[in-house]
Structures are given as structure tokens and as C-alpha cells.
Symmetry: C3
Subunit: 671 residues, 3 copies
């Protein structure tokens, strides 16, 4: 059992090694002025710590740790293994990845290690062993930060060898592998394990990375394998640390929207705490980070760390407008609202050089605290000082679960089907947004989670259904649960082989339908849909559905299949199972979700929904904290529920009826 | 002399090896229910038949052949050489192609053999030898299907060596090669044959494959060479078969719109019958498949086999909407109308896995005959059972020929000229459509065909004119023929070297004009053209023409060359030669084609043209079959000519005055 | 001291080696008919001159030189080193470049030599040595033309080795290099010189060539290094020539808009005369070639040679419409107006083959002089015969300097900042156009030029400020100069490391401002700006400016920073320093430039500005030649200043009040 982090962390990545030692003290004074209490260090210092194989010099890192410890900072200690030194590439070229085009990469950039390369694994472990031995006993170190933002893929000879071994473990025999991969199509039978080649641009795949492949089973397995190899490298670092320090939490930072190449649900069990780097772009709708925070929180069903975010601008997106007054505070509090027990920035001090020198920081190039951005950071520091102790230990509670599944993410976007426009994340967000707009709390769960704790489970585009899942869903519905899925559901097994006997395969009985065929729509074309009194539209796909027990909720109102079912509802045992046969336009989807929520007897946190995000964290003593966030650049109304009887924890004042742009309140009931 | 196929074939690709043997009987029952009488097998079974070099196991194929033979199916036997086994790549890596980027490909996909690799040729021939020896005597085998959809290009060392030899045969001396390739430009002189390198992205070409090259002669010759090498590999398989079975027709299946990399006109002589795979996309205008069918029929001036098409959707185009009710039947009959003596599908049974598992099939994943698609297939089976015997032996007859020439296809799209917008197929289709809209039958011929059988020969964009062609065209016109060509005609010889003395080079006297220079138009810009009473427009290019004997048919009406000739007509001997100096807008082109047809005294099959396709096949006994097809999703009028005195061969009823969407009639005169 | 070229040159590239010797005499007669007096030869004849290493045959070149000399042509002699023979690639593959993807290129194309490859340098020098020895004494050779259009980049092992040596010279120690490259970021410390790798797609760079890189210092240094290596190869050829012929001017031809990869300002000192190839596209606005000619003239502050242009169309741009009547003459005279002492064409005779066979020429494929294009060339020849002797020795004079700096070109477009839309040339042209539209003569200078000769120095986007520059600019302003710069100015040093203490870094005191932060705008978004009475707009970026001594000239009128400074002006000593914080819309920029010109007391050549280009060359005797050019396809008014008292040097007539489309007058005052 690990020692939990005891404090709400406010701080971020700090690279004092880029600066003269005499400036560190002044930096720390500035951080303290903003109530910053923590620093993540040593994320990219391998070459600084080790000028050659077997040689280490920790004197500068010692000084940094000493200075931060003396200032009573909570330290998150990086392992520095995400960027390899030049000498390592020079000595062991195989540590560099081979890319999708089959090209070995050389020294440069970062995040480019081959996870199976023996030299990388040996020397990374040696570095971590030295670090852990040296700093294991420092009580200011509250967590170990392994590597950085795992991702990407390697297609090298080492990986190919390891892949063959991994497949042998998975399938035992080539007969099973040939069956799983359907190799009788196009003469792909494998007779010896060493005939298997990685699915890159020169082999079985074609087009750019991530697009259509010939042997879907091969590609799916390679994605599984690479995610597993990365996780294995992570575990190597983690166990090396734990040999010296079994108490302090260890994690790596997750990232992206989310990262497609790392199955975070499979990784979660190896993370002592979930940490996430959040970088919405200027035009990202507010529900997308909300979705991602809900996903991160649900990975372990416990609060997570917001590990990186920017105090002002990023520098690697196409356009980074300034955050408007109040915007930084509101968006950081959005993460807290959804379960973050920290606010962390990249970076505490803006670098003079390197690729991210124009990325925002607490201390900017101007090196003065007299800036708009620093002023906002100070105010947020005050808020978090008040809020943190009240929130620590509180949780988010949801009666609706949205299923997000990496195997489906992979399979759906790789499939050569009747439309090329399958964007799994966007399709999932269509549904997430419906709950978000109603202030209905949502957990974003895996297919392996326990459904029974939810009143409603929504699993859009559940194309790949692995063994046992259909039975578990059926039991859930029969037991009173409510379940919704959509077109493409139930088509294939875990190797992307089709379930015969009619779509949606093993979900047919649960849903009470048979889908005979599906129409596909080019962009800007759609089919009319009659739903209650409303005529709405469907796009992307339109399933031609035969109800076999289900009742018809909506019908198509154009095309040759006008009058047939577009949406169905199947009463089964105590629950209902819904099927949505097309990509409903927002208005239509909204009307449908109203029906579904009514059936599941789920309501939002507010009945009044003026476009303001409302979230709730509940403390162990039952105290509820309502985050009321205006995440827009226009003023908005306070939801009526909060007009009386609530007080803002941060100002101790009753909330006003109008919310300024980017206003962010944390309300609790007055006693 | 080969034994012709005696029956109208209805069937398609069937892969029983992907399914349990006990299911085959049931499959055959379903096929018979739809009147399906043939199956193409063994197209991709190399690895199944041969687990290692020299080892063969035909037991499963024997069983398949036995079962189909017992059911009296006509079998088209594939050679399985289009997808190589994994063990072959492992043992002989050189069988994989080197791509335009210079990269050797490894095991995966299909259609990726190097046509000159000795190991591939030896082992492919050995497989075919075993197959032919084993099945030569089976009377149910009505044809051999060699390889599959030849295409693509290899740039490997073996090909480079073979290319040098091919060039030595073509040019005999380096002086001739240097002259043909104009190597004095940019210091490209070749002094030894082994200095010649393939024109890939690392060499003389630049940009992506298929774009502008430096030494046009090199690129043209490499295209000729690769097409010839593919054809040589095809001949290797064919002669191997013929050693065992000299009677049964042998072919490979042509494809695409059409395939750019294979000169089908050069191949036609080695095909015992032309076979074509037809996959129009959802937004393909109906005249495009018509053009392609006419091209296929004209390759040997005899009926062809529609070898592949989809009974419902494809899965590899961007969007595959469902075929609307009637659409499948009408579009399959379109192929028959233009000369197909078969309706064949890919595929008879939908695969569970692999890259095409969502491609439509006669037996779908639902594995029931109670589907809309199967119902339509049954109806078509009934129709073909009636129609086939009447049509076999009939031919299409045309008085208009449209010239399509692979050398021009290559040269025009590679040329670095004054516009980058040269799309040979689209430009040819501009003209084809004019005849199509008038229901004027057209043959799509090569420059080597006999012109004298036509009243009108249209050769748009005849940029590359090889020796002798100008004389043959001149003789044709003098003898009473009518000829039309367009801007870019006559500019270069077969090596893309310019004919000096003024454009259109060797066609100057024939056309009675000199083109001094050409204007080029960016997209959306055009020049006005006065044609008779009408003011129309020209785009893409506008030639500045000096009539030298020709009369002016249309003039430019804007730009500094307003008033000069845009279209000319030259009376020569008994015929006329027309020149169109710009890409006329459809209305202008239509008015011009009216004039040209009037001059050539050619009329369409109907005077009434309500947007319905009318085609005619004529039986040896003189009986005419009129295919009247409404290839749209709206209803249309029956052309007035058919209002009385005709009966539908399929229904034995007189046709109604209105045609439903996708209505397809086959009419003959009542006696 | 070199012998200057004594005549105004009219001619161009001529490749008689592509034609039978018996045709040369006729060619020369045609050239003389057009008053052509010069020919550039031997630009691409390496393989023709040398069939193998060490073997030379100059007999054909001798004949060419003899024939041109006999006809009294001025000869510009190429060195033929820009296109390598096939045998050279075959024997020494390392002469081919390795591209950004790490791929060695093979024989083909041109301009593809590695500048550091020993075999290339040795054999190129040997060829040049033979040429120079042979032709040094021919008095008809008026210049040596080295290589051709240097450009591109090599990333091979030879270059990597040479780069390490170049860096050792530049930095002396790795400590200095590590500091310059900020290698403490992302663990990039270099401990041995041989750990340094070239910044290509497999190493530290990512994305396509020319985009964002990780270690900016590495990328900038590699750009400097490659430009220096190319220049070194040029010097090798030049000194080889000078060993035989120390008198005749030597140059290579510059090109593009301008070429990004060659620092022409660094090269200028090694060019005896600047030569430039000018190929505006059909839609290039007239101010762009004007800018480029001004840049070329300013490189050595003396007239330059227009070395290539097309007499009609080019063939390698996407679209090449015909030049309209008068257009060729007017655009060639535009070059002369801006300082060209020649009009040279590519090409004198149109090739039959090769990549540029459809590029325009004096003798076209029609091989007749009875063409519109030849007629225009004859007229221009007459004009130049009159004009040349009057103009030779005259100069252009400017009181406004626009700074164009290759290091900024590189750094700005590589930077990972808050917008991806930084197009240095376009941003510079924004400002150039303002002066162009007012007929204000401009020199386009480097940061190392002497500012004191100008009344106004405009340096937009002066992002990278090298040591000493801020002091020089400050002294210039204090001494009465006027200076303008824009957002992004002063941010980084010569290694792209940020100047701390607030933007614009070392220019803060000069400009009297501090820029706290910058807003970024996606395309089509903008901020309102109040400038005098006008409300205009800013886009791309908007700096939030604190005036610290400067006065506010314009303010933002929208966004949360409405009311703060958008443009400032700082009075310092006798001069003023202006800062423009956003990309002003043209109308706003125009109003601002009016103010700036008024402050600097600079006026245009005409007060009346009806959209006609007016330029002036001044002869040593004080005689002014006014080029009045209507560079549009519409007629325009003569600026009122010229209505009386001027005569056209070419026609000896007073100018008319209306200028026809493409009218081009060269006026001088009547006595």
C-alpha cells in the first residue's frame, strides 16, 4: 500500500538545471508568492546526469533537491528516461525507433526509444536504480514520475522478434493464429513463427500509419503488443524504484485526447495514481476536456492529478491566442471539478532555448511578476489554498456510464467499411456532449468495468465485442439496467472477424433487432428521421433495421427505406436496450436522450441549463461542492437552483444572478 | 483455336476454402436458387496449396472442384499467383517489389510481386504447371483465370537489369537511345548501358509517382517496359497452362478506369477473351462505365466477360451507399448492353475476415436468403436465364470510333507543359459523353485499329503521334472518313520529342492549320467562343490557330485573340478533318458534335433523347435487342421510338410510357 | 579589379550542341535580326565534354565558340558543373545528395551534387580548369557563369563530417556549442563532436523539410553551413578560373523569390556581378519582381544582370497563360528600370526534348520568325539598342531601406511560436508594397549595410537580432534616422535563444516599449485598430504593449486589451523609432506609412499615383531616366508630373495622357 499524496498540489515542471544556481532562490520566492507548493523535476536530465555509460554525476541534482527541500516544496521526481543522450544513440544505434516507413531514427527529439531494445532497457533501468537509491529517503519526494508521455510505435527487428514471442504466448499454435487473423484470405497463411512481419508501410499495411490494413488481426495485435511493451518498460522502471522505495506513489503522465496508441485502461492497474497532461486548443469545445477528465478519473475510479497545463499559451498548436481574463482560472478549476487533486503547469520557468521556449510559464522571459498572467496565477494560488483542504478526499459520483474502449478505437478507425469517416472519439463525444449539456455526471468506463453501479450504460459504436461482454450486458439489462448502443455495434469479435447470423451479432437478442444492411452517406448528405413530433436527420450511416422484439422509437422519413425503424427500444427483464441506427443530428439526439434518461430515471444536477457547466464533488462527510463554471467568453445566467441557499467557498458570498465571462464559482449550501 | 465459353455466365468469385466443407453444399443450393451457374475459384490460394517450396497439397481444391462439378457448375480456375505466401518472401526477399521511393517491400498485401524476379517467375510457373496438369481434363473448367488485376510498378535491381536489356533490344545503339531521350539536355548522355537507372524518386523523376519527369523518353520507356514485363509474366503462366490444356480459354481480369500502368491494347492479343472488373463509385456518372465497357469490347472487337462487380456495396471506396431498388439489376444489364456475355460478382459468399469482409456478396454475413439483395439477385437470375441464350453470339455495332491510347495517357499526364490540369481520361470522357447522350454507339479503339470501318474517328488530345499514324489518318479522311482532334494534337513523337515546323506537327496538312501558340487558363477562367448563333466558353487551353486551308467553324470572342479561329474544319478528299482548339463547355461541344455528326451522316439509335441510355446488340440472324436503361434515381420517359411495336424480352409486355427509377428493359420488335 | 562588361547585353542561354552544326549559322542570323548581341553557352555540357573521368573533347565547344566569336557575339561561358554525367554517379555514388529523408539520390535531374563530396569537387574543378585554360584568352567571353542556380541541401555523411569541423571552427569548445544550442533542454548535451548528427527527418527535426525543429541552433547552423559549403564550392570554381583568367568577371546566377537556402548577402562579395533569373508567375503582383530586382541591385549596390527570363511562357509553373501584347516588353523593362544592365532569356532556341521543351524561346519549335513573340522580341531589340548606351553607368538611388535578412528568414519560419502562419517574404512584401505603390525608391539591404545613407530604415519582423545590431540601430536613430520594426522584433539572439528581461529585448530602449505578451489570430480573425480617424484591423498577431517612453500612434479597438497601444513612435535623439504591434490591414498600414514618410521627409517620385510604376535611373552626368510602366492589362493615366516637358527616349515623342495596357515609357526631360 502506497502513501497517498497528502496535499493538494499547486506547481509544475521546473528545470533549474537550465539556469544558474544563484537564481534558484529567487525563483522559489516568486513561486511562494503565488502559493505554489510543489515542483516536478528531473524529467529530461539523462545526459546531464550521465555523460557516458556508467558515469554519473548527481551533484547538481543534489543541490536542486536540497534547495527545494529546504523551501519545503513537495517534489515529484522524474526518471529522465524519455529523452536519450547523444552518446547512447552513438554507442547503441538500436535504441532509436524504426518508423512506419521502415527507417531507423537517430539522435534527436525525445520519446523515441524502442521499448524492447536491450540497451535502452538496461541503461534506463540503471539510471533509475541510481536515482531511486540516492533519493528514496527524501521525505519531500511525494511521487516518482516515470519517463514522460508514453506513445508512438516502433517497427524494428527487436520489436518484430518480441512480437513473435508475444503472439506465441497469445495463440500457442499457428492454427489458432491463422484462424484469428483469417489468413485464408489472400494467401496469408503463416507456417512458421518467423514468417510474421510487422505491419508497416512496407508490409501488410498500406497508406499512412493508422489507416486501413489488410490483416486486421495482425494490426490489432501489433497495437496491443506495442502498448504492452511500453507498459512493460514502465513497469521495469517502476519495480526498480520500488526496490528502493516501496512507499511513494509511482506514475507516468497520460496525455492527448486521449492517446490512441496506449491503452490507458490496461495501464491503470500499474499506476499508483492517474496523472494527465491537459492541453485543449483555442477552439476546443469545453465538453472535450470534461470528457477527458471524466475518463482519467474513471480509470481508477478515484481522483487524479492534473499533471500539466499551460498558465498562458502553448507554442506547438497551430494558433495559441491569449487566454482571456479569467479563462486560465476557470479552465484549471474545470479539471478540479471533474476530480483533479492538483493544478500543475508546464512550466514554472520559461526556457531561453529549445523547442518549447515560447510555451507559457509562471516565470516568463520578462522575469517579472508584474504581468497579467502572474497576477492571475497568484489569485488562483489563493483560491486553491482555501479549496484544496476542503476537497481532498472528495469524489465525483455518476449514475451514467459512457463506454470508451481502446480496442474499438483501433478497430473502428482501421476498418475498411462502407464509409471512411469513422472518427471514434468524435462519435463518442456526440453522446458525451448530451449528458454534459444537461449537467448529468458521467463516468467514462471500460468494457471491463462493473456496469451494475450505473442506471444507464451508453456504449456507442461498440463494433468489436469480445467474449463474455454480450452476456454481461444482457445480465445488466435484465437486472434493471438501461443500455444504449448504435450502428456498427456487435459486428466483430476481438480479432475483427465478423459474427455470422446477422448484425449486431451477439447483441441481437439483447437489442431485439436484426440489421440487414446499412446505407452510407457522403459528407453533407443525410436521411430524414421522424422522432416523436420532430423531423430530424441522420448522417454517416443508416442501418436498415428489422425489429425482432424491440419497439420502434424513430423511423426514417426519406429514402427507399422511409417508414422503417431508425431507433429502437427493447424491454428486457427489468431494463431496456436502445439501438440508434444512424448518426442523429444534435436536436434529434437530444430528444432521444431525454427519453432514455427518463426511462433510466436519471436527472442532471440542475434542471435549469443556461449553458453553464455544473459539477459536483462530494466529501466523505456528505458535503457537496458545486462547481459552477461559465466556460465561455460571454456572460451567462446562474442556474436557478443556486439562486438561494448557496455560498461561494472562495468568496464566502452568495452567487450573483449573472456570471461574468469565465466566471468560476465553487458553491456549497448555507447551513 | 480455343473452345469458346458456351453459356452466358452468372456467378462470381467463390472461396469455399475459407469455410467448412460441410457448408459448401448449402452454399451451392443457395446459388442455384438464384440461377447462378458458375464460380471462379482458387484466385488467392497459393499459400493454402503450397506450405513450402516444392510441397503441394491439392486435396481441398480437389474436393471443391468435385463438389462444383457434381453440381454442374461452370468453373473458372484461378492460378493463385497474385498473392505470394509468407514463406516465399522469407526465402526469396527479392520477389517483393521495390517502390518508387526505392524501398523493398516485404510480405503482406497482394499484387506485389516483381515481374522480373527469377524466384517469383520460377515458382509461379511451377504452381501453374501443377494446377494445369491436375485440372486440365475437367470439362467443367470453362476458362483459366491467370493471376489477378495486374498493375503497379517495380523499381528493383532485377528490373533495372532487365530494363537495360529491353532498351538494348529497342534501340540497338546508345546513339539511338541518346537521340530518343534527348540526353543532350542537362548533360544526360549515356555512354554505357549500365549507367541507365530506373526513373524513381531518387533518380531522374521528381515529385510523387506519375508526375512530371526530367527525361520523358526514359519514363515512357519504363512504362512500356513494365507493362511488357507484366505481360511477359502473364504469358509465362498462359503458355504453362496451354502445355497441358490448349483448348480452354485463358485470360486475366482487367480493371480500373482503366488501369494506367497496363497497356490493355497491347495485351489484348494474348487474352483469349477480355475480362473486366467493374466498380463504379456512388457518384460515377453512368457514361463512365459505358465508356469502359465499350473500351473492353473494342479491345478484341468481340463480347467480353464482366468478371467482377458487386451485388450490393463495395468496402474500399470512400463512401458506398446502398444500391437503390433496381439499381443493381440496371447497372449489371448496362454491362450486358455494351457487350458483356456474363454477369459475375465479387463475391459469392461474404468472408468473415480480411480486408474485404464488408464487400457485398450473394451470401451475406447474415447467411439468409431473406434479404432485399438476395431477392434482387434471384430476379436477375431469372432475367439472365431468359436473356442469355438469345444474346450469346450477338454483337454491338458502331460507326463512330473514339481513340484511347495508352502512350498518350502516359505522355500527356507526365508532360511539363503550360498547364498542370491534363487529365487524359476526363478529357476523353468529355467527348464520349456527347455520343452517349445521343445514344450513338461508339467503339473505343487504339491508334492501330482499322479506321476505315468507321464514319467518324474522334481522337482528342492526340499529343503523341507515332510514325505512320498521320499518313493513315490522312488516307482515311481522303477516302471519305471524318476525323476530329483537339488542342495538343501532333506535338510529339513516340519519345515525347517535339515535331518541328509548327504544331500540330505531322497533322498540319491533314487539319489545314498551324497553331502558333497556346494560352493556358487557371481553374475557373475561360475564354468566350462564338459558335454559330451561340456564345459558349473554352477553358484549360486555347490554341491560336492559323487556318491554312481549313475553314473556321468557331472563333474566340474574348482575349486579345478574339475573332481568330477556335474550331476549324478541313475538307480533304472525300472527308473532313476537324480541330477543336480549346476545351469547349458542354453546350458548345454539343453544338459542335451536332455539326460533326451531320457531316459524317451518323445518327443515334433514338431521335428522342429523354436522358435514357439506349444500346443495341444485334444477333447473327439480324434480330436487334434494344437495352433501354433508366440509370437514374428518378423516373423518365420512354423514348418515343419504342412507344409502339416493341415488346420486352423479359416480361413479354409492351413497354410503358414512363420508366421507373432504375428501370431496365430489353426490347425487340414485335413480329 | 575585373574588366566590367562594356555593353548592354541582349540575348540568353543557347544550346547549339543540341542541334546540327549546319543550323547554327541560320540561328545566328535570326538572333541578329532581333538585335541580340550575346549568348550564354555551355551551362549543361559536362557529359558532352567528358565521356569518362579524365577524358575531354572540346571540339564541338570550340566550333560553337568560333562561330559565335566570328559573329561578334558576347559570350557568357558556363562551367557545366550543375548537372553531373551518368558515369560520375556510377563511379562515385557519393556525389549524389542524401535528402532530408536520409536517402542517397542517384543519377538524374540536375542541381543534385553534394557540395562537400571530394569526388565532385575534384572533378568539377578539373573540368573548370580545362575550360578556363582553353578559353581564357577569347576576348568575346565577357563573363564566366559558374554552375547554375545553387540551392538545395545535402544531409550525407560527408556533410555531417564537414559540419562537425565547421562547428569546431565556430564554437571552439563544446561548452560554447551546448550553450548556443540550449542543449540542457530535453537532454541534448553533446560530449564529443562526433555525437552531432545532421538535422534531418530521422534526427532532431520533425515534419517536412523547412518546418519546426527541436534544436533551433542546430538547424540554423546547418542552414548557415550548407549555404557556406555551396559558396565554398562556388569559390573553388571561381579561383580555378581566375588562375587562368584574372580579368573577366565571374558569377553564378541567383534565383527564386528569393532562394531561401542560399544567403545571397553573404555570397555577394564573391560575385563579380550579381546575376538573377526572374520568373514571375501569371498571378504574381508586379511589386514582387520589383522587390526582387531591388534586392539584387542592393546586394552590391550596383546594377545587376537580368540573367534569365522567358520571352513567352514557362513550362514548369502550374499555369502559364500567354503574355499579353506588350507584356513581355514591359516586364523586361521593369528589370532594367530597377537596375538591370541586360535582358537575357532562357532560351534562345527551344529544345525538342527534355524537361523544358515547352519553355518559351526566341526561336520556337515552329522555327519561323513570323510569330507574334518574335515580332515583340525584335521591337524590344530595337529599343534596347537605343536605350542601352544611355543607361550603362547609371544607378538607382533610394532614401528608404527595407531590411531583408536570411537569418531571420530561417529563424522566423522554423520557430515553434504562437502561430504557424509566419511567411517572412510575404510579411516583408506587405511593407515593400507600401513604398512601391507610392513610387518611393527602396533599397533592400542586409542588417550589415550602412544605415546612415538612408532617411528611413524599415526592418519588419526583426526577430533575430545579432550582437551589435541594436547599438547600430540606436546610433542611427539618435543621429537623425527613422526606423520602423514590428511584432516579433528583438526576441532572440543569433542562436534563437531568447533575450531575457522583456520583449523586444535589446531593442526595448530604442523603441521605448515593453511587450508583455502577444495574442494570436487564426485565419479570418482579427482585432480592430483605431489609427487617427480610421478604424482598421490587425491580424496574425497582436502585441500587448507597455509604452516606456514611446507615444501611442494607434490603439486596439476590440478584445480585452482595447484601448492599449497597437502602434508606437519613440522620439530618440534626432530620429524616431516606430513599432507596429500587429499585421495591419492594407488601409491601416497605408495611413501609418504616410505618417512615417512624413516624419522622415521622404516623398515618392510622383505625387500623382494612378497605379503606374515609376522608377528612375540617374546617369553620371545627372541625366534622369524615368521608367513609366503600366504593368496591368487595363489602360491607365500618365502621372500628371509627366504631362509636360518630357519625351520618350525610345520614340522621341511626348507621352500621351493615357497609357495603353502594358505600355512602357522611358522618359527624360526635354531640354
Amino acid at each position: 500500500m502506497k502513501t497517498p499524496i497528502k496535499d493538494f498540489l499547486y506547481g509544475g515542471d521546473y528545470n533549474p538545471d537550465q539556469w544558474p544556481q544563484e537564481s534558484w532562490g529567487e525563483d522559489i520566492q516568486v513561486f511562494k508568492q503565488a502559493k505554489i507548493n510543489s515542483a516536478t523535476i528531473n524529467v529530461f536530465s539523462w545526459a546531464a546526469l550521465s555523460p557516458a555509460e556508467g558515469e554519473y554525476d548527481f551533484s547538481k541534482l543534489d543541490a536542486i533537491v536540497d534547495e527545494l527541500s529546504a523551501a519545503d516544496f513537495k517534489i515529484i521526481m522524474g526518471t529522465s528516461t524519455a529523452a536519450m543522450p547523444a552518446w547512447l544513440f552513438k554507442k547503441y544505434p538500436e535504441v532509436g525507433r524504426v518508423d512506419y516507413q521502415g527507417r531507423r531514427h537517430v539522435f534527436g527529439q525525445r520519446h523515441n526509444f524502442c521499448p524492447t531494445a536491450p540497451a535502452y532497457r538496461r541503461l534506463a533501468a540503471d539510471l533509475v536504480d541510481h536515482l531511486a537509491a540516492r533519493y528514496a529517503d527524501n521525505p519531500h519526494i511525494v511521487a516518482w514520475h516515470v519517463n514522460n508521455e508514453y506513445g508512438g510505435t516502433c517497427y524494428c527487428e527487436h520489436c518484430q522478434q518480441a512480437f513473435r514471442g508475444w503472439l506465441k504466448d497469445r495463440y500457442q499454435t499457428l492454427d489458432r493464429l491463422n484462424a484469428a487473423w483469417a489468413t485464408s484470405v489472400w494467401s496469408h497463411q503463416i507456417y512458421h513463427w518467423d514468417e510474421i512481419v510487422v505491419p508497416n508501410e512496407l508490409g501488410d499495411a498500406w497508406g499512412p500509419e493508422g489507416s486501413h490494413t489488410i490483416v486486421a488481426g495482425l494490426s490489432l495485435d501489433y497495437l496491443r503488443f506495442q502498448s504492452a511493451m511500453m507498459q512493460d518498460e514502465y513497469r521495469l522502471e517502476k519495480t526498480t524504484i520500488e526496490a528502493h522505495d516501496p512507499q511513494t506513489p509511482v506514475f507516468t503522465n497520460f496525455h492527448s485526447t486521449p492517446n490512441k496508441l496506449i491503452d490507458y485502461q490496461a495501464w491503470a492497474k500499474d499506476q499508483d495514481v492517474i496523472a494527465y497532461d491537459s492541453y485543449p486548443a483555442y477552439d476546443t469545445p469545453a465538453y472535450q476536456p470534461a470528457f477527458l477528465y471524466d475518463l482519467m478519473r474513471s480509470l481508477k475510479h478515484q481522483p487524479f492529478l492534473l499533471m500539466e497545463s499551460t498558465p498562458s499559451q502553448v507554442n506547438w498548436q497551430p494558433y495559441s491566442p491569449l487566454k482571456r481574463p479569467g479563462q486560465m482560472r476557470a479552465t484549471e478549476l474545470q479539471a478540479v471539478a471533474h476530480g483533479a487533486d492538483s493544478v500543475q503547469f508546464f512550466q514554472l520557468k520559461q526556457a531561453r532555448g529549445g523547442s518549447e521556449k515560447f510555451h507559457g510559464a509562471v516565470i516568463s522571459h520578462a522575469q517579472t511578476t508584474k504581468t497579467r498572467a502572474f497576477n492571475d496565477l497568484e489569485k488562483l494560488g489563493d483560491d486553491l489554498e482555501k479549496l484544496g483542504p476542503q476537497l481532498l478526499g472528495s469524489t465525483n459520483q455518476a449514475k451514467v456510464a459512457l463506454v470508451f474502449d481502446w480496442a474499438n478505437y483501433w478497430a473502428l478507425e482501421y476498418v475498411a467499411g462502407i464509409t471512411q469517416d469513422l472518427d471514434y472519439c468524435q462519435l463518442i463525444l456526440d453522446y458525451y456532449r448530451q449528458f454534459y449539456d444537461r449537467n448529468v455526471p458521467v463516468d467514462v468506463i471500460s468494457v471491463d468495468d462493473d456496469f451494475s453501479q450505473y442506471d444507464l450504460v451508453v456504449a456507442p459504436y461498440l463494433y468489436l465485442v469480445k467474449p463474455g461482454l454480450a452476456d454481461r450486458l444482457t445480465a445488466y439489462v435484465k437486472g434493471g439496467g438501461h443500455f444504449l448502443t448504435t450502428m456498427m455495434a456487435g459486428m466483430v469479435d476481438e480479432n475483427d472477424n465478423v459474427y455470422l447470423g446477422g448484425y449486431p451479432g451477439p447483441l441481437k437478442e439483447l437489442l431485439g433487432i436484426w440489421v440487414e444492411e446499412s446505407d452510407a452517406f457522403p459528407p453533407a448528405q443525410e436521411v430524414k428521421v421522424a422522432l416523436g413530433q420532430q423531423t430530424t436527420a441522420g448522417s454517416l450511416l443508416a442501418d436498415l433495421i428489422h425489429p425482432e422484439g424491440a419497439e420502434v422509437v424513430a423511423t426514417y422519413a426519406s429514402e427507399f427505406y422511409a417508414g422503417t425503424a431508425a431507433v429502437t427500444k427493447h424491454q428486457l427483464g427489468q431494463g431496456t436496450a436502445w439501438y440508434v441506427g444512424t448518426r442523429l443530428a444534435p436536436a434529434g439526439l437530444s430528444a432521444l436522450i431525454d427519453q432514455v434518461l427518463a426511462a433510466a430515471k436519471v436527472t442532471g444536477l440542475t434542471a435549469d441549463q443556461p449553458g453553464v457547466e455544473v459539477t459536483k464533488r462530494v466529501q466523505k462527510d456528505g458535503q457537496s461542492y458545486y462547481f459552477v463554471l461559465n466556460l465561455t467568453n460571454q456572460s451567462a445566467s446562474l442556474p436557478k437552483e443556486f439562486a438561494q441557499g448557496y455560498v461561494d467557498c472562495l468568496t464566502n458570498q452568495a452567487p450573483a444572478a449573472r456570471l461574468a465571462p469565465w466566471a468560476a464559482l465553487v458553491l456549497k449550501k448555507t447551513n
